[in-house]
């Protein structure tokens, strides 16, 4: 709410300047969006009296004005406003002035005529289109007749005020009014407010109830509904003081009747609605749910189709307002209005909130009804509004209030002890200190031996339990004054559990291996959600009401997201990308049951893995590089069982000849490979190598125990062997034989060369291995090694038909 400092000063002797007051409000009541003066950034704007006006000799729309700016002699200003007239006080921007949008005004010649400044419209001095009065949309503003030429215009327009723009939380609906602000500020400063209320003088003998009836069938919709009728109204502009109150609060002045209702809304937080009495199609007012599809034209001339959850105010059965949200065009106040039916009500907050959202009609009224209305001031507000309309519209207030429903004004009794207060807040407050806070808040209470019983007034409907009172005590005492401690030391031992350790270690290892952590979106398209899954799961889980077509389903693999990242980089000429991601995938289970969430880890590399430099060739991403990363990762994670890689040509998104499933025992825990060239094309990326692992399967795997193995002091013996084999025999096939038949002393087998090419027979390749033998208990003799080696060679020939080269 835009709270006027000057308006506050009418009710409180404020001890601090606006900025300091705002800081206190932020620390004690509600947050502050902004503190500003409407005149910020504006200079040299003075009152000018237009002495005479004559047409510009060279223009059909400009006029030459002789203006008294309080300097004895008149100055000439060229003006283009259609409503310029002599003998009016206007806003003059002198040469050197700064006006709205930081525009500087200079002395200039306009079509040959000197112009010593500019005559301004409100919109030109910082007023928004939404707050400047509509009547002056097309022209300049006229200042009061008694304004003194040469003086600053700011005081005349309320622009010397300071506005404290508060951010009202949902619980503090009371802070949506001047009254609520005054009460809270009085409480934290310890002031006595002198809030002025205007009593109504019913100056018409006519009984309101003879003019209108109110019949609220469902009192849940409108727990309080009251009306007054005002007759013989003259619709005209409001006085300037009232217009200033409104525009400084961001509300556009319209006419006396509407302005009064908005003024009362600001002052009491009570939204009012004024109907043109004559246009009410029936003089019995009711409140009901709208019928589905019922059409209704609101004040903004928008024809709306209502739903059965909307609440309407009716005349007879005919809707005349969208309750608490916006009035109807049909019964709106116009220049011709002579009688006004004035509504002051409390509507159901939830229904109003939903209705405002449904129709995207968040108004000053609806935002107050949503947060609740002070039942203490419904009638006060109605009376004061009627009286002001009478005063400003030379009208008559008929006798009596017509009440359709009325919620009792009741206080809430909340018990609280001093001991409990200090126990929760960590303070050492005394009975007197707590009592003092309740006095400042103007809450009635009784107290015996440190036990309070507090009567919370209806105006603070947010307070109903002990914790609410504790908040009042804490904030008025001051959060700054609370001691600052840490929770008492207990036997809690913090730390990551085994699973959390595993996840963190997984990230560290992959970073050490050169991959950068990416965090991509979990929500994706239905199509992408199903790509690259380790195991197929069918349809992904879908959002009921997505926001964008790019994010409608939960991912079932991480690779798709990483490829989006690679594509994002490629589109920005970043061709060398090495990423990994650790995160959740979501596997749908039964309907209405949450999906199974699995932690996965995946990587994607493309382009140069390490850059070519002046003396180093660099390393290009390829299958064996990504596989090396996976192998090293799995080694580091100490998976006890053997990890194997099995060619899989049936993954549709993957290169059929360059993809391997990763198995632990017989279960597939992931895969590694090059993405299918067709996929690369679809993603608009270069050859990209990926892997994905299901961490759930890895976390639960038995891990290698940390045993120290003594380094044997006995020497090793090595034998190299080069094998010419058929091209479809794999390294794994050969290793199987060597490891199977290698004997007890074989400690290591290392592939050191692979050759396919011109010097070999067709469909053959050559693989060369070093076999290392060692007896950990003694010196190995050549003979034993020769025996073991010969056995392996024979088996290779026998089983794989190799040729030893």
């Amino acid at each position: 709410m835009k709270v006027s400092y000057q308006w506050l000063q009418e009710y409180l002797d404020l001890p601090e300047k606006p900025a300091d007051l705002a800081e206190r409000i932020a620390r004690t009541s509600v947050d502050i969006n902004d503190v500003y003066s409407p005149s910020d950034g504006l200079t040299k704007l003075v009152v000018g009296f237009v002495d005479s006006v004559k047409p510009h000799p060279d223009s059909d729309h400009l006029t030459l004005c002789q203006v008294n700016i309080g300097e004895g002699k008149l100055v000439q200003i060229v003006c283009g406003a259609p409503n310029i007239q002599a003998n009016k006080n206007v806003i003059v921007a002198l040469p050197g002035a700064r006006i709205g949008n930081n525009i500087k005004i200079k002395r200039s010649k306009m079509r040959g005529e000197l112009s010593e400044g500019m005559i301004c419209a409100l919109q030109e001095i910082g007023f928004s289109e939404q707050t400047a009065p509509k009547a002056y949309d097309e022209g300049i503003w006229f200042l009061p007749e008694d304004a003194k030429p040469g003086e600053s215009v700011f005081p005349y327009l309320g622009m010397d005020d300071t506005i404290i723009d508060t951010d009202v939380t949902p619980n503090r609906g009371d802070m949506f009014s001047m009254l609520g602000n005054v009460n809270d500020i009085a409480a934290f400063y310890g002031l006595t407010p002198h809030f002025k209320m205007l009593p109504v003088k019913e100056n018409s003998e006519q009984q309101a109830e003879q003019l209108i009836k109110v019949n609220i069938a469902d009192q849940n919709l409108a727990p309080t509904y009251k009306m007054r009728v005002i007759t013989d109204v003259t619709i005209k502009d409001s006085p300037l003081w009232l217009q200033i109150r409104l525009w400084n609060a961001g509300i556009r002045p319209i006419s006396n009747v509407v302005d009064v209702t908005n003024y009362i809304l600001l002052k009491y937080g009570q939204p009012l609605h004024s109907f043109d009495y004559a246009k009410l199609p029936d003089k019995t007012i009711g409140v009901r749910f709208a019928k589905a599809g019922e059409p209704f034209v609101t004040l903004d001339e928008d024809e709306r189709e209502l739903t059965s959850n909307d609440v309407v105010v009716t005349a007879g059965d005919h809707p005349v307002a969208l309750a608490g949200t916006m009035g109807g065009l049909e019964t709106a106040i116009t220049d011709q209005t002579t009688s006004v039916a004035l509504e002051a009500a409390i509507f159901d907050p939830i229904l109003i909130r939903k209705q405002a959202r449904r129709h995207d009609l968040h108004s000053e009224s609806s935002s107050r009804f949503e947060r609740g209305i002070n039942p203490e001031t419904v009638e006060t507000a109605l009376n004061e509004a009627a009286e002001l309309i009478a005063q400003l519209g030379d009208a008559k207030v008929t006798t009596g209030i017509v009440t359709g429903s009325e919620r009792a004004i009741k206080t809430t009794e909340v018990p609280l002890t001093v001991a409990r207060t200090n126990h929760v807040l960590g303070t050492e407050l005394t009975v007197d200190q707590i009592a003092g806070i309740f006095k400042r808040l103007a809450f009635e209470y009784t107290e015996t031996d440190g036990e309070f019983l507090v009567s919370v007034p209806a105006r603070r409907w947010d307070i109903s339990i002990e914790a609410d009172l504790l908040e009042e005590i804490a904030r008025i005492y001051g959060y700054d004054n609370l001691p600052s401690t840490l929770p008492a030391q207990t036997s809690n031992i913090g730390g990551l559990n085994e699973r959390q350790h595993f996840l963190r270690a997984s990230r560290r290892v992959l970073e050490g291996l050169g991959l950068n952590q990416a965090i991509s979106y979990s929500l994706t398209t239905v199509e992408q959600a199903q790509q690259f899954e380790i195991v197929r799961h069918g349809e992904p889980m879908k959002l009921d009401y997505p926001m964008s077509q790019d994010h409608v389903a939960t991912r079932m693999s991480l690779i798709g997201g990483l490829l989006n990242d690679v594509a994002y980089n490629a589109a920005r000429k970043q061709v060398n990308v090495n990423l990994y991601e650790q995160g959740r995938i979501f596997i749908p289970t039964d309907k209405d049951v949450r999906p199974e969430e699995q932690e996965h880890i995946a990587g994607a590399i493309t382009g140069q893995f390490t850059n070519k430099t002046w003396h180093h060739e660099g390393q290009e991403a390829d299958f064996y590089l990504i596989k090396g990363i996976v192998e090293q990762y799995l080694t580091n994670m100490a998976i006890k069982m053997q990890v194997t890689y099995r060619a899989n040509s049936s993954r549709p998104e993957m290169h059929p000849g360059r993809t391997a499933d990763i198995l632990i025992g017989e279960s597939v825990v992931g895969y590694v490979g090059q993405i299918h060239p067709q996929m690369a094309k679809e993603y608009k990326i270069a050859s990209t190598y990926v892997f994905e692992l299901n961490l759930e399967q890895l976390v639960t795997q038995p891990k290698k125990e940390r045993h120290y193995q003594m380094i044997s002091k006995y020497p090793t013996i090595t034998r190299d062997i080069a094998l010419l084999v058929d091209e479809d025999i794999t390294n794994a096939d050969i290793l199987d034989v060597i490891n199977d038949k290698g004997g007890a002393y074989l400690t290591d087998v290392t592939l050191f060369d692979v050759y396919e090419g011109a010097h070999l027979p067709a469909h053959k390749k050559s693989l060369a291995y070093t076999l290392t033998y060692q007896d950990k208990e003694g010196t190995l003799v050549e003979e034993k090694v020769n025996q073991a080696f010969d056995k392996v060679v024979q088996q290779l020939i026998k089983q794989l038909n190799v040729e030893v080269r």
């Binding site: 620390r27 914790a467 929770p487 009921d544 390490t610």
Partner: protein, 348 residues
């Protein structure tokens, strides 16, 4: 010429040749020539048998001296030349040490992960356990058990991706409050937990909004946990993240699951409180929300609010990262431009 003179002459000749020699090969030649078995000194010594018994030892001694002197001169010269050769070699091997080193592959944790890890480690140090919850939650845990019944206005503040009427993408990490309260065994001591993770809101992505972001939730519930403890804890967090030169301000706020509720601000690090565009001219930057756990939340989770109480807080790592590094567009975190990711080096 007597033998002695001959030897003396040989010594002088040898010394001058050694002095004049400029490479190791020549030194070796001199050694062989002068001291070898066929060399002149050996020759001279062979002529000793013609000498008298009296002279023989004198000449012998002298001859040995000549040989030693030559040997040591040769050694010395050889050392000099070897040293010179090594020096020449080293000179030859000189490289431009300002040329860049070999490119290494080393990845970085995501900047948001770094902040999460930093916070998690801070809380672990204060005895908190780490709880990780599911990203798809039940409405009951995400809202109802946090004192947000179906029609609560605060639900409007968190536009939600629903899957079914009862399941949703969690809008906050707070459901972990309810889940941990339900399962914690209070006979074993207070609950102290921190829970980081992804959350989702039905928002249109732009520079300041993302339909996916992160939160870190924290909660301490025990028999005597006070609002002063909350204040102290929040100050520790703010100082850990932003340094201890900035002031921390607590102010009232509203969350359905805490009462009293607070928000914590720090002095704007950009303008140091004078007011600037980053802090919207308030001098303060909001960094987290917190409060004393609402008795309804405890009750709904089966914890007696008359016996137990405490605080909860929530932080936004995305926002922290934006503030700390001046990141202007939240989408940068999720698009994973390699130039963005590699900027946030770990300090170890």
């Amino acid at each position: 010429m007597g033998l002695k003179d001959k030897l003396d002459q040989l010594l002088q000749q040898g010394l001058s040749e050694v002095k004049a020699s400029s490479d190791l090969e020549k030194i070796n030649d001199i050694r062989v020539k002068m001291l070898g078995k066929k060399g002149p000194i050996t020759q001279v010594l062979r002529g000793m048998r013609e000498l008298s018994a009296e002279e023989r030892p004198k000449i012998g001694q002298f001859a040995n001296k000549v040989r030693d002197e030559l040997t040591s001169a040769i050694e010395q010269r050889r050392n000099e030349l070897e040293q010179a050769k090594i020096n020449a070699q080293l000179e030859h091997e000189k490289i431009d040490v300002t040329l860049p080193g070999t490119a290494m592959a080393q990845g970085q944790p995501h900047v948001i992960q770094q902040i999460i890890d930093q916070l998690v480690d801070l809380f672990i140090g204060m005895g908190y356990e780490v709880a990780t919850g599911d990203e798809v939650e039940e409405d009951r845990y995400n809202f109802e058990m946090l004192n947000l019944p179906k029609d609560h206005p605060a639900r409007d503040m968190q536009d939600t991706f629903y899957i079914t009427p009862e399941t949703l993408m969690r809008t906050q990490t707070s459901p972990m409050q309810a889940r941990m309260l339900e399962t914690h065994d209070f006979s074993k001591g207070p609950l102290k937990m921190v829970s980081p993770g992804k959350v989702y809101r039905r928002d249109t992505d732009d520079a300041t909004h993302s339909h996916q972001f992160h939160q870190v939730e924290g909660m301490v519930i025990g028999k005597h946990v006070t609002m002063a403890d909350l204040k102290g804890t929040l100050e520790v967090v703010a100082q850990e993240l932003f340094g201890d030169e900035l002031d921390v301000r607590l102010r009232p706020s509203y969350f359905p699951f805490t009462e009293p509720s607070v928000e914590a601000d720090i002095t704007c690090f950009n303008c140091h409180g004078r007011g600037c565009a980053i802090c919207k001219h308030t001098g303060w930057i909001e960094v987290l929300g917190a409060g004393m756990t609402h008795p309804n939340v405890l009750k709904m989770a089966g914890v007696d609010p008359d016996v137990y109480g405490g605080f909860a807080f929530g932080l936004g790592p995305d926002r922290f990262a934006m503030l700390r590094y001046g990141v202007e567009d939240i989408r940068d975190f999720y698009q994973n431009d390699i130039r963005f990711l590699t900027q946030f080096n770990q300090k170890g």
